[in-house]
Symmetry: C2
Subunit: 263 residues, 2 copies
């Protein structure tokens, strides 16, 4: 199968770099084809701006959504963006390898999503009607492909547990996993997360890589996160709220970490 | 009072630009002093990398955390980062004005956090003991200051409601509001969110600005989000999980949007 690794760390000898290199070797050894987007090495441009739209008339007000739509439709995108889009279309699975900085992606990776995810490719896809609100959240350009986050953090696993102070890791990753991966159609695998990475050294690295190998081996077999699909009956359209008869008990949210108001 | 506006949009005439300009005028009219970090206009460098650490020995492996700690302690940070830190220290309140792109900040703003939030300033602050795990989550360098997100999105308010498909807006913003603002000590006000911004035009702009003015007038009076503080009894230390007797009913999380497994 075809696998794209989008990698964002400034130091090739970092743990993230080791994991990226290991993934390439392990996947190729097992017969897969691998491409890498090494964003720092590529000197990826992080900022979405007017330079992304060569056909933009700079005497007018820049509307990033409208310009993205036009550039994608007319084929006037920049070459770096087109190259990444072609890798995405080529890939059967995408692995994102990065350190968790301030509970999200490094800026350079956020800029990859901001710029590569064009209108017409990642959003603004499909018809809108009373039963179907665009091809998104389970449908879309990347339907049939798989995606997995592989991340490192200095924090402890308990800090990211169901009652941990940072918030549960899967909730913290919801804007990425649900909002940026499931949205354009990816099936999203549970993340591979390494905690307390300052404790990972040459002595115990093999155990870490062994665990990662297991996840790589399951890339096309493990069950994805069971996010609800938008257009298959669970949601009111166009309000896009869960129907009253769906999930009546769980209130959800991060209110666990909110103090109760006294009085 | 002193107010810093960190603003991230590539188009000065965008709605975000209008809101930024309005905030400056309104706050100054009311006697406040305002500084602006217009990240696109400043050509802010988004990517945290070795160039951020002029004292870094490039023959060694770059450890961003260790280099950040050293650069902040030794005064060897870059001038652009120091300037932003001085603005933060000067400010009594910080407003972040940006469009919600893929359910998070534009990359250039994420890069502001990645680079300005040095070890020793925003994290790695305070003592670690059996009752106190660093000055964070309610304590820290920015304690006593206020922060507020002011964001725009094309989506509908219902899509971001408690049962909306995108996830509740305050949960989507949790990694920022709790993880990047409450963490180093800010009191975080509820966000000012504009939905369906394609519907905002000259006819109804005044109503929008009026609502924004109300929030600006409440910047030092409105109640902040009641996040639990870390070192005041609710959490086990060092596991940093909520104690068993705290919040026993609400399971929290985004499981509302997970399908139930059959069988």
């Amino acid at each position: 199968m075809n696998i794209l690794i989008v990698y964002a760390h400034p130091e090739p000898h970092s743990l993230n770099g080791v994991l990226k290199n290991f993934a390439v070797q392990h996947l190729e050894k097992n017969g897969h084809r691998v491409q890498i987007s090494d964003l720092y090495a590529m000197k990826w441009k992080s900022e979405l701006d007017a330079r992304d739209f060569p056909a933009y008339d700079s005497s007018t007000t820049l509307n990033p959504v409208a310009e993205s739509k036009r550039a994608f439709a007319e084929g006037s995108q920049t070459v770096d963006v087109v190259a990444e889009q072609e890798k995405l279309i080529w890939a059967d699975a995408v692995i994102f390898q990065f350190p968790l900085w301030w509970f999200s992606m490094p800026a350079i990776l956020k800029g990859w999503f901001d710029r590569v995810y064009a209108y017409g490719l990642a959003y603004g896809v499909g018809e809108h009607s009373d039963t179907h609100w665009g091809d998104r959240y389970g449908e879309g350009s990347f339907a049939g492909k798989r995606a997995m986050l592989s991340i490192t953090t200095g924090g402890w696993e308990s800090h990211y547990s169901a009652r941990g102070i940072n918030g549960p890791i899967n909730d913290l990753l919801f804007p990425i996993q649900h909002g940026a991966l499931f949205y354009p159609g990816f099936d999203v695998l549970p993340p591979f997360v390494l905690y307390r990475v300052d404790r990972i050294n040459e002595t115990n690295l093999n155990a870490t890589l062994s665990a990662f190998a297991t996840r790589l081996d399951g890339l096309f077999f493990d069950a994805p996160i069971a996010f609800r699909r938008q257009n298959f009956g669970d949601y009111n359209i166009p309000a896009l709220t869960l129907k009253d008869n769906v999930e009546t008990e769980n209130l959800g949210g991060f209110s666990l970490h909110l103090q109760k108001q006294s009085g």
